[in-house]
């Protein structure tokens, strides 16, 4: 009996072959080829040219810096808004939680183009926001929110906020509320309790959320395209242009690799961080 059970489980493993094989062929392989192609000169030989070109041009440094800067700002804002939201959600009644889920997931299901388009309408000089600001007398002239970083950040936060809130919410729900009560009975003020108990325990969710948002913000293309146009160059925009308009394969693949490296770095760093955090906090709820 034991041997058939054993072979049954090892036979089950073969079920993964189609899926894994597909991704190997269609995802991993092309990426490897891309990496190789970035080292390939026009004639077909090996060259560092693509990278030296890229790194020596100070404009590129600006582009990479812009991309990272915007990603940091967006991630920071999402964290600032998303963290209290996630905890507030975890503390309310179930119907309110359900409503909040809806408010977060509906936009997710709608798609980035519709959302970006919506913000182009809202943020225009003669759009609703400026309308309200002017009629309330807060400003005299319309505030320029489109085609600059402000509008981009607002739209990006709108698109990415659910990806910050939901992981933190998952973790917040698991934090036993008795722990905060215990901290209070031990004499900790609410601030002390937050810093020493709540925040450390919520870190896995925070790391996940930040990794998602940062990596998506770094590689976003549609949102800047609609909200900021050509004025603000991000790495994805430049990469797309290199392929689609300039047909510069080598420059394009170099930038693609740089973008890929950033993404891989984020994934690896967040995974390691999460693993370390989880090792520290093995059972998220103690006995009983």
């Amino acid at each position: 009996m034991a041997s058939t059970a054993h072979s049954a489980t090892s036979r089950v493993a073969w079920l993964a072959i189609p899926g894994a094989g597909y991704l190997l062929l269609v995802f991993a392989l092309p990426l490897a080829l891309l990496l190789a192609s970035s080292f390939q000169s026009e004639q077909g030989g090996f060259t560092w040219q693509g990278y030296t070109n890229f790194l020596s041009d100070p404009f590129n440094a600006t582009v990479v810096w812009n991309t990272l800067k915007i990603a940091f700002i967006v991630t920071g804002l999402c964290l600032l808004i998303g963290y209290p939201t996630a905890f507030a959600m975890a503390r309310t009644s179930l119907p309110v939680q359900g409503g909040m889920f809806l408010a977060l997931i509906l936009p997710l299901s709608v798609g980035v183009i519709v959302k970006s388009f919506a913000w182009t309408i809202i943020l225009r000089s003669n759009g609703p926001i400026n309308h309200i600001l002017m009629s309330l007398g807060i400003v005299d002239d319309p505030v320029k929110l489109l085609f600059n970083e402000r509008g981009l950040v607002i739209a990006a936060v709108h698109v990415f906020l659910p990806f910050m809130v939901l992981p933190i919410f998952t973790v917040a729900r698991q934090i036993d509320s008795r722990m905060q009560e215990a901290a209070a009975t031990l004499g900790a003020t609410p601030v002390h309790t937050f810093l020493k108990v709540t925040w450390p325990l919520s870190l896995p969710g925070v790391v996940t959320g930040c990794a998602f948002v940062f990596s998506m913000a770094v590689s976003m293309y549609v949102i800047p395209a609609l909200l900021i146009g050509d004025r603000y160059q991000t790495l994805p925009a430049m990469m797309a242009r290199a392929y689609l308009f300039m047909r510069d394969r080598q420059a394009g693949s170099t930038m693609a690799v740089v973008l890929l490296l950033i993404a891989v770095f984020i994934v690896v760093a967040s995974t390691l961080l999460t693993r370390r955090l989880q090792a520290r906090t093995q059972a998220q709820g103690v006995a009983a």
């Binding site: 009560e181 215990a182 901290a183 031990l186 004499g187 003020t189 020493k196 093995q282 103690v286």
Partner: protein, 381 residues
């Protein structure tokens, strides 16, 4: 920063609750409760779930606010103080240990919150660890501990800040039976040595009997009886207390006669006498509930003549044996009851007792009249 660390000079506090009211919606979970315990006392709040004992505990700790009434610890009125300023230790049912900190860090948490640092901090932590006999485990993560160890860490953490009063919410319910029995005695000793005033919340009457100096039996937000364990056991003041603490045989009946010293009650199973002192204002015709503790009952064969000329008056009832439950050192013999309703009739005898008890046997029960308990019953019962 929390309230000043108390009890440095060894003085622990008494507790006074007056007029505590707590409503959830229209329902009063605690309704005008008065309660006071002496410094250094161990008291249990004993009752079924929903009786309000946990609510009361949380009100004392300051985790929820009462709608009316006062909470006074020692000579300080803490009613308006938030939990982190009361310096009342709490051991939660699920322990609520911080999973991201080690044992030592958990224990140090309260001391740090009070601003204690350096050598004083280390001394406080090692003292608490010593008190619960876990000195070797200071650097362990919480997830590596057994249930019993976690419970001790929870206690150590609560006593480390030398609170004036310590509250324990079903502290042993998560442990298995054997461990629970050992811990009951150890915990009591730990708290005594630490010189604490302690309140336990429990639904386990055996635990309350073992651990407390006095027990408050709670029902529907009120305290029905507040006495030493032996008093509550021997003289429960209400049918609820009778039922909740210990076992008993019970009969419904009507008072048929009241004399100078005795009440006579007519039941479906026979006549039962009780001392008048058990219900002094009884009148003939009143409906009552009569009870007696099972270990007071002797089982005899039907033909056995009533006792040697005993000065002690005894009650006698003829019964038919139902089931016998073997409990190790004693047996609990259940008798078929002719009365309507669920009240069981049982007697407790030592295992080596000589009278055989097979189902269907006709025997007689006998117990001293003085141990009979009587309670008035309203018509709805």
């Amino acid at each position: 920063m929390g309230g000043a660390l108390g009890s440095r000079d060894g003085a622990v506090s008494s507790l006074l609750l007056s007029g505590i009211v707590k409503r959830y919606g229209t329902q009063a979970v605690v309704d005008g409760l008065d309660f006071s315990i002496r410094s250094g006392e161990f008291v249990s709040l004993l009752g079924p779930s929903g009786c309000g004992k946990t609510t009361l505990l949380r009100i004392i700790a300051g985790l929820i606010a009462c709608d009316a009434g006062r909470v006074v610890v020692g000579d300080t009125d803490v009613t308006k103080l938030p939990a982190h300023r009361r310096n009342i230790g709490v051991v939660f049912q699920s322990y609520a240990l911080f999973p991201h900190l080690t044992v030592g860090e958990n224990i140090a948490f309260g001391l740090k919150a009070h601003g204690v640092q350096g050598t004083e901090l280390a001394a406080g932590v090692s003292q608490a660890l010593k008190a619960v006999q876990l000195s070797a485990l200071a650097d362990r993560p919480i997830s590596a501990l057994s249930g019993g160890q976690q419970q001790r860490v929870a206690v150590a953490r609560a006593i480390a800040t030398r609170p004036r009063l310590i509250l324990l919410d079903e502290p042993l319910s998560a442990l298995d039976r054997k461990l629970r029995e050992t811990m009951q005695i150890e915990l009591r000793q730990m708290l005594r040595d630490a010189g604490m005033t302690a309140i336990f919340v429990t639904h386990d009457q055996e635990e309350a009997l073992v651990m407390s100096d006095r027990i408050a039996v709670m029902n529907h937000g009120r305290i029905e009886q507040f006495d030493a364990p032996d008093t509550i056991y021997a003289r429960p003041s209400t049918p609820f207390a009778l039922n909740f603490v210990g076992l008993s045989s019970q009969w419904h009946g009507e008072v048929s006669r009241v004399s100078d010293t005795l009440l006579t009650v007519q039941t479906d199973c026979g006549t039962i006498d009780a001392p008048l002192a058990a219900l002094p204002d009884a009148t003939p015709g009143a409906r009552v509930l009569v009870g007696v503790r099972p270990e007071m009952i002797e089982i005899k064969h039907l033909e056995t003549s009533l006792a040697p000329l005993d000065a002690v008056p005894r009650n006698r009832l003829a019964v038919t044996v139902g089931e016998t439950v073997f409990l190790g050192s004693r047996r609990l013999v259940y008798f078929q009851s002719q009365q309507v309703g669920a009240n069981a009739v049982m007697a407790e005898v030592a295992t080596n007792q000589s009278v055989a008890t097979a189902p269907g046997d006709q025997l007689q029960l006998s117990w001293p009249v003085g141990h009979t308990l009587v309670y008035p019953m309203s018509a709805s019962h």
